[in-house]
């Protein structure tokens, strides 16, 4: 994948070269590419004069960063204690089974990334699943299955329509 360096340079120019700006700069780069490309990290190390081992260490220590591209749809289940007590564990299990991935991974067709988060601060609505930024509350295993199915259906509309047509004919 060709990496255009501008987002990296823009981020560094915006925040500054000092080492304390490393984490905000990585957030910006990740915001742009949906992950941290190797070339970007090498540029950051060179331009900011930080040893590459340290940049790599920071990029792999903090879970908000990913070194592999994320999927089109971001599915996040809240694993906070309040949600856990309201049985969010079952919701995560069903999401894992439906998507066929573990938290932190992306489906092969690059459509879904599954993540967990420690607490979203909306405990009254728990258990919570966030799909593409939209919060869904009081989610159960059956509900998350339906939510994900809806997104999957919307993605596969052309084939879905053909399948339906084939089934009818």
């Amino acid at each position: 994948m060709e990496v255009n360096f501008s987002p990296t340079l823009t981020a560094i120019r915006k925040h500054g070269i000092g080492r304390s700006n490393l984490i905000p700069i990585l957030h910006e780069i990740q915001g742009e590419y949906r992950y941290l490309p190797e070339d970007s990290l090498r540029s950051v190390a060179d331009i900011m004069d930080i040893p590459l081992v340290d940049v790599y260490g920071v990029a792999t220590f903090f879970t908000s960063f990913s070194l592999r591209p994320k999927g089109k749809h971001q599915v996040t289940t809240c694993m906070g204690t309040a949600c856990h007590v309201r049985k969010s564990g079952g919701v995560l299990e069903e999401a894992k089974r439906f998507l066929g991935v573990e938290p932190g991974q992306t489906t092969e067709d690059m459509l879904f990334s599954l993540e967990t988060v420690n607490c979203l601060g909306a405990c009254a609505m728990g258990p919570i699943v966030v799909i593409d930024g939209k919060y869904h509350g009081q989610v159960t295993p059956a509900k998350v299955k339906k939510l994900l199915q809806d997104v999957a259906d919307a993605e596969r509309v052309p084939e879905y329509v053909e399948d339906r047509v084939a089934a009818v004919l």
Partner: protein, 208 residues
Amino acid sequence: MVRLRIDGQSVEAEEGWTILETARYYGVDIPTLCYDEGLSPYSACRLCTVEIISGGRSRLSASCSFPVREGIEVLTDSNKVRRARKVIIELMLASCPNSRTLQCLASRYGVTEIRFKAEDRDCLLCGLCIRMCKEQMQAGAIGFSGRGVDRQVTMPFSMKSESCRECGACLYICPICEMPCGGPMQPGELCNSCLDTVQLQAFPCREE
């Protein structure tokens, strides 16, 4: 000068010395793994844990980084210390059971079983190689990546680093990835009969 007591003996130390340095100066043995005199202390293995009594309170702490303080009482072999030390050695063995260094420690300190789920790693994440590469060899080619149980020592992107001069210092300093224990036990089991005779002469026998 700072005055303190180690195992009942009054000793004097320079301001800024650690308990470990002071103990070694006076010939008191405290086991270590991630410590090396020529490198900065890291306090990660916790094998050098001792009991420190001060102000009427007792606590355990790693001696390699604890600066000496006036009036403290240090116990290097109390029941609490022995208890903690044995579990730490056992935890290390559960991670790297085939390491000769750890097998020796097990024999010396009376660890005769591994009650935990054992793996077969060749790295205890003590960080000696990283500090050696950075501080002594001035290369900084390797570092920690990841976090927690997924922490590893790597070169960035698992690719040969440009700063690596292949000096071999990391291999030299590693206490784990050396020749595995060649004793008569099955791989992953405790030997306990493979005693380092040189060490046995210098220090007291292991407990029964």
